[in-house]
Symmetry: C2
């Protein structure tokens, strides 16, 4: 068998979701800010990205893992082929696909860019992280920087001449940014003198672009303690002359790169700021809000990283299972002229593949759904709709990040298992897929932290208002389904009722015990995630029901699989929440390190 | 913080389980074949192994991963330090710890050796695989080889002068050994001419011992098709002269080694048999039974691999969580003189650590329990007891292999997550732990195949007799618990009733549909695994209740955690089984590779 991993962009499902499930063209055409986009434009973009992913980034995935990013004497080089691929990517206009046309972007809606991103993450997550950080930096600048700063930096970031990073984490400060130590002392010329060490900086140095624009969180001398005293600075690798050309090298550079479990072709740098010149973005002490613009963007992207990996894993596992002959069907020999049947005859192999495929199709629909909500916040002219969509995005960002990566990671494990021993061997590419994806559950706020965000700020803090609005929408939609879709209608409505009840329980318990939410958070995130996937399958089923043919029949069958074999996990999640936090908090701190 | 991984052998829990939970000394003393072992002997052995694991194998774990096994021109070398460690291990008499004294072993019971194995797996799984295969080969020879073969091979295997392998898998034949192609043609001198290629051969070549004794499955020219036509052969790397000295090099050797996700210091070889001289073990066409002696031994060992990794992961994650200061407690500042509280104040971090610790303590008890059953089969003089224990071992071997590695893998992921971004960085050792353990779910029969074994041969085939006997024992024990242990009594009895009912359902469904069991198998394995852990916590609780002090109180608290926050998964597993196999089997084979 051929060990070379395959990837064929899932354009049929992307079309189905955009056109049939979400009626994207109608949505775009109804909005004056998006009316320049139609289905044909979207189709052309997806087809071009499919070619790029299949022909350019896919072949560099295994070699990039084997070679890795390389650090030598203060300089990072990317694996062979990455520089050329990045140039092609930049020249194709892909970096600015979703950016404002004013700064050289293409102004495409998020509903569409999530699908383009999926293909790149599927074929080469290490590569994808380089432009992704540029786009994130661009978003933060677009929202908070001065007009002059935007003019200086944005066009060159979107053209790929320059790239961007986000410098948050320090050795002692990850989740808790309030305790960072990096200092920013004002210079007489209005710039700042930046000193400190940042770690885990994706793309902190590399050879893909002429300049790297670091966005750095630091504290000014008189800043208040904690997260209210953090400011955001632009620290370019090379200072920029008034005419936009590159000036002298700034006092910032990588001290080393990390050796990691995966995404080895992505340079993860320790960055030393040794009195580097920095430029304040926005106002002092308001840096965290600016950074969160970027963070929220990245968080949805991490969910897409999960989806991409899961789709890649699925395609390869399904092909392997089709080709691999081993054992005989329980109901009798299926291929008498072969020494054994394909392992696809075994229910357990199918169970694993269907878990992955159900994850992919629900995740893709969910990504487009959240993308649509983001588009409403950005492009809608109706303040009521914007407000509602903002709440929805706030609620669903932790789901998009954490639930989509948790389920995708499990999916890649299922896919790897379909390969038996070959799944553990590097040349088949499945173990790399697992290693590469694992980081998505950890970075940009661990999935535990995402769960805290969901249960705390997004649910308890608003008295459950956001989730109530969401459940209301789910009920409104699901109630329109006909009796022939009772299997998904009933399952979704039941799940909505259960999530509603457990949300109420959580709010009540939180009023009694400050410790309750934290211990319940991950199970709650999964409960809301399961409901969200049920909602997506309700939408998918409604769209498929309108059509005839095997493609659509299979959509309905996969929805039934989800209801019967995945959704039941909701019961356990709810029971675990109900068990409360006393079981968790009653142990002394010493217990954990006392030898058992 | 110090990135060097720690390991302290969990001797306190081992003592508690052996002495308090299973009254091991009483059990040994009551059996004439084990009466030479007392608690003091067991304690001395565990303490010595703890020193060996902490001082010898632990320091070689990270370096072994970085260096890996090395193949060059037909020879494999192990990483620096492995040869010396193997010699120390052999000289300590550890290889034959559980082997018969007649052949140079120490005759120790399995109840004890599982705990010794755990320490080695915790500190260096790659290293442990070398002696493990020797022990497995020794067991197969001890059961099936001729007296002369035993005299020739066993003492040198147990002394570590020679080592052993098991050569089953071929490129096209893994789970389905019935289709192997390796040929064994009889020579006139009674030996055989072995020709073929085997893959995934652990320790197929290395530099640790003077000779390597390969146990090879092959087909004789007139063998029946399928698994009834497989014979077992001894194929030594160096032929053995009549006086026991090494003779000429046999025509067997490694063609390459695999590059793997983990256990990189363990040489996984492609083995070429180019007309090698082989010696039949037992009778022609009865090789699979002999190999299964070895396989069953290895399968329990893989569960111990899981336990070892999970314990290692726990200790490091608990220490990291204690040291890492980040954020503040939900109920107010806990360490006002520090910049932040330890992350142990967060319920979600505790949830992850408690998941791991509950897994460790239940797994350890379960391993000792299965070890005791194995000891009954080997040492008891009561035929009724032996028969009952044989059935119990048959039932629980797939649980020991698959459930213990599934839960342990999840545990190592939880532990890795406690480290945040540092969990993804190689120097901290957590990502290696995850990578190294992943193979345990795959090799020695994938966990899917174990599940088939449990639901098919071990349950449906005997009409549920084995599980009924097990449930009966669980009920008998659990009913002796007092009302003060109602939390675990009720939970265990409820779980027993649920597993009993779903077993009955499965047997009924299997009679209707040949496809049903395969699709339900993994969920059933997890259901029986959860019941088994509940039973273990019932035993742990009963023992702890008899004592006073914090150590024992914590055992009860952890049992409560298990009931509230882990056992509820049973509900979902049962619901998924009830959903049936039609959802899985209704898709055409083409569906899986059709582009979505």
């Amino acid at each position: 068998m051929n060990t070379m991993p395959i990837y064929n962009a899932p354009l049929a499902d992307m079309r189905f979701i955009l056109n049939d499930v979400f009626n994207a063209e109608q949505f775009w055409q109804a909005n004056e800010n998006l009316a320049h986009i139609d289905a044909a434009t979207a189709e052309a973009i997806l087809e071009e990205m499919a070619k790029f992913a299949q022909n350019v980034t896919s072949p560099l995935n295994r070699t990039g893992d084997e070679e890795g990013a390389h650090y030598d004497q203060g300089q990072v080089t990317t694996p062979a082929g990455f520089k050329d691929a990045f140039q092609q990517y930049a020249q194709g206009g892909w970096i600015g696909l979703g950016a404002d046309e004013e700064w050289g972007g293409q102004g495409m809606p998020k509903m569409l860019t999530v699908l383009a991103d999926e293909m790149l993450f599927a074929t080469n997550p290490s590569f994808m992280l380089y432009p992704l950080l540029s786009v994130g930096a661009g978003m933060a600048l677009n929202s908070y920087a001065s007009q002059e700063q935007k003019e200086t930096y944005l066009p060159k970031i979107y053209s790929g001449e320059w790239s961007g990073t986000m410098c948050l984490t320090e050795p002692h400060a990850g989740t808790d940014l309030g305790i960072i130590k990096t200092k920013a002392e004002p210079n007489v010329d209005g710039s700042y003198h930046i000193t400190g060490t940042k770690i885990f900086i994706t793309g902190g140095d590399h050879d893909l672009s002429q300049n790297i624009i670091h966005l750095v969180l630091a504290k000014t001398p008189d800043a208040p303690a904690g997260s209210r005293g953090i400011s955001l600075f632009i620290v370019p690798k090379f200072l920029v002359n008034e005419d936009g050309s590159l000036g002298e090298r700034n006092a910032v550079g990588p001290g080393s790169i990390e050796h990691k479990m995966g995404i080895k072709a992505s340079a993860t740098c320790v960055m030393n700021f040794d009195g580097a010149k920095g430029f304040l973005v926005g106002k002092e002490n308001e840096g965290l809000a600016a950074m969160f613009v970027m963070m929220n963007y990245e968080r949805l992207s991490m969910g897409i990283q999960g989806l991409g990996a899961s789709e890649f894993a699925y395609q390869n596992a399904a092909q392997y299972a089709t080709d691999r002959l081993q054992g005989r069907s329980a109901s009798g020999v299926q291929s008498p002229n072969k020494p054994a049947d394909s392992i696809l005859v075994h229910g357990d192999v199918r169970r694993m593949l269907l878990n992955v495929r159900a994850n992919n199709e629900a995740s893709r629909a969910f990504a487009v759904y959240v993308g649509q909500q983001l588009d409403i916040t950005k492009f809608s002219t109706d303040p009521e709709a914007v407000k509602k969509a903002n709440n929805r995005v706030a609620l669903l960002t932790p789901i998009a990040k954490a639930y989509l990566t948790d389920t995708a990671f499990q999916a890649t494990l299922d896919a790897q298992m379909c390969f038996g021993g070959h799944g553990y061997i590097r040349e088949w590419g499945m173990e790399q897929c697992v290693r590469d994806l694992r980081i998505a559950q950890i970075y940009e706020g661990t999935n535990g932290v995402q769960s805290q965000d969901l249960i705390g700020r997004k649910t308890i803090k608003c008295g459950g208002a956001f989730i109530a609005e969401y459940i209301s929408e789910i009920r409104d939609f699901t109630n329109t389904l006909g009796a022939d879709l009772n299997f998904i209608k009933d399952a979704t409505l039941d799940a909505a009722t259960e999530v509603e009840a457990i949300t109420q329980f959580i709010i009540e318990q939180a009023a009694e015990s400050a410790e309750f939410p934290n211990a319940a958070a991950v199970d709650y995130l999964h409960a809301v995630g399961l409901l969200s996937f049920a909602y997506m399958f309700a939408k998918i089923s409604a769209a498929a029901k309108e059509k005839s043919g095997e493609f659509y029949q299979n959509k309905l069958a996969l929805a039934q699989y989800f209801v019967g074999r995945i959704l039941p996990e909701l019961e356990s999640r709810i029971k675990k929440i109900e068990a409360g936090s006393d079981l968790v908090m009653s142990f002394t701190e010493d217990y954990f390190t006392t030898q058992s």
